[in-house]
């Protein structure tokens, strides 16, 4: 019982972070119909930016986080400028290939800048590593902080789309780009900000996850796969779907590791993707209307 509750708590915490990674993938896909294959590397860059600011430059945690998120936003915008905007006319395949190219470049940059100092960098813990007791469940205070922060990011994200003008322009552009252009929305600029927002969410999830795990230049790909599994599970265009998908992937992964073996932990996301594509091609929440391909 104790093992199960421990696994669930860990699963929910990492799941919330996968949900954030998935959110970034979904936002960009919804607007542009592109799966940004550099999304994992945007996550990685966010983590290293925070590491540099917090550990190397010794800025306090909160400003480091904010700056890292802003930096991720800027790299996201760069992705749009380099991969999406110039290649959109050439077709989806060119854009996808370009995002792969960006992922390699970012990985290379990270290896040069951060990879040399021992492959794995540890981010200092945010709060005392003492475990806490809530009812019968032991929980690391660190996990609790991360979980709450992840929920806060989701709320901010939802509020942004529901209430701000920029958020509504993004929704409108995702829903019908031609009509968006006809009401006077600067559609290519919205795409640019969408890539930025997607990357900012990736950066936010990275700085939250960093204290729980280790940072290394290749962390992007496994994280991308988990976030992508969560996004596919949620239907690839649904924000609530991505969140539920993220939690499911996180929990499944922990249960698989705890009851079957740790070897399965890292492949569980692939298994989820496979089953989701076979049995739930429209995601757990189903799809409203039709999807343009």
């Amino acid at each position: 019982m104790l093992v199960l509750s421990y696994l669930l708590v860990t699963g929910i915490t990492t799941g919330a972070l996968y949900a954030l990674v998935a959110l970034g993938i979904v936002v960009v896909y919804k607007a542009t119909e592109v799966v940004n294959l550099a999304h994992g590397e945007l996550f990685m860059m966010g983590g290293f930016l925070a590491y540099t600011l917090h550990v190397m430059v010794k800025l306090p945690y909160v400003p480091s986080v904010l700056l890292a998120v802003a930096g991720s936003f800027a790299i996201g915008i760069l992705t749009d400028r380099v991969a999406f905007r110039p290649l959109m006319k050439e077709g989806l395949v060119s854009v996808l290939l370009a995002t792969i190219g960006i992922s390699f470049i970012l990985k290379g940059v990270a290896r040069v800048l951060w990879g040399g100092k021992g492959d794995y960098l540890a981010f200092p813990p945010l709060v005392s590593p003492e475990p806490m007791r809530i009812g019968n469940v032991m929980i690391m205070s660190q996990q609790l902080v991360v979980l709450l922060a992840a929920l806060a990011v989701m709320l901010v994200f939802a509020a942004f789309f529901k209430t701000t003008r920029a958020g509504k322009f993004m929704q409108a552009t995702a829903s019908n780009p031609k009509a968006a252009a006809l009401v006077g929305i600067h559609v290519s600029r919205v795409y640019m900000y969408t890539f930025g927002v997607g990357a900012a969410v990736a950066g936010a999830s990275a700085v939250l996850m960093a204290p729980l795990t280790l940072l290394y230049p290749d962390i992007g790909f496994p994280l991308f796969i988990k976030g992508f599994a969560a996004a596919v599970l949620g239907g690839l265009t649904s924000v609530p779907g991505a969140i539920i998908g993220g939690l499911l992937v996180g929990i499944l992964e922990q249960l698989a590791a705890g009851f079957i073996g740790t070897a399965i932990q890292d492949v569980s996301a692939f298994i989820v993707i496979m089953f989701a594509l076979i049995f739930l091609p429209t995601g757990i929440l189903g799809m409203r209307g039709t999807r343009k391909i």
Partner: protein, 234 residues
């Protein structure tokens, strides 16, 4: 208000508009007619900046606007209500209207405009929190018009607003078009329904084979069976 000269548009290897010239005087209602696939929507899209003309000029209020981007045409006061309405189906009626004011900056003015729009279209007020996708065809047409008005247009480009609507609803749309003109707007109305065009427009142009094949007072259209037969193919 709008002056289109020698417009030529190609889609890849196919020429759709060969040499289209016409003008829309300020505060007029001008109809643009033509059979299926004759290029009516293409004319509007070339004016709106959605497709780039290969040749020709588009002038708005005397200024050259050829090849301007869609958002810049909206800023010049030229707003299109697209064929098939194209409302933002996943968003609420209210959000559709707010997004319609994309080129407006003043929040207070936007709120006032929305209030005024609800006066003009009471049916929309009743459904302000509904998703646009669940509205009836007539309501969606109203929403598409209302959304366009949120941009405070000087020239409205309407693409077949009457399609698929019951005769009574078409009547209300005709009335709305007249009201808009009375408020000072200029309207270029694309139609396949000659009755609608004859009822509201001052003047009509008929598009065929990539050129304006016939121009004349709109009221002559109904009587002129030869024009209808030869140019519209019915």
């Amino acid at each position: 208000m709008l002056d289109v000269q020698h417009l030529e548009v190609w889609y890849g290897p196919t020429e759709v508009l060969r040499d289209v010239s016409f003008t829309v005087p300020a505060n007029a209602i001008i109809a643009l007619l033509g059979g299926n696939g004759s290029g009516k929507t293409t004319v509007l899209n070339a004016v709106s900046g959605l497709v780039a003309p290969r040749a020709g000029t588009v002038r708005v209020a005397g200024e050259d606007a050829t090849g301007a981007a869609p958002h810049s045409m909206v800023m010049r006061g030229v707003v299109q209500i697209p064929q098939g309405r194209e409302v933002f189906a996943d968003m609420t009626v209210q959000d559709n209207l707010e997004v319609g004011a994309a080129v407006q900056q003043n929040k207070r003015a936007i709120r006032q405009d929305i209030a005024e729009i609800y006066e003009l279209f009471p049916a929309l007020r009743a459904r302000r929190s509904a998703r646009a996708g669940v509205l009836s065809g007539g309501e969606q047409t109203q929403l598409a018009m209302a959304r366009a008005l949120m941009a405070r247009p000087r020239l409205l480009l309407m693409d077949e607003p009457s399609v698929g609507l019951a005769p009574l609803v078409v009547e209300t749309i005709i009335q709305t078009v007249r009201d808009l003109r009375a408020r000072g707007l200029t309207i270029l109305l694309v139609e396949q329904n000659v009755g609608v065009a004859a009822a509201v427009a001052d003047h009509a142009h008929v598009l065929r084979d990539g050129v304006i094949a016939y121009s004349g007072p709109a009221c002559d259209l109904i009587d002129n069976r030869d024009v209808l037969a030869s140019y519209l193919g019915r």
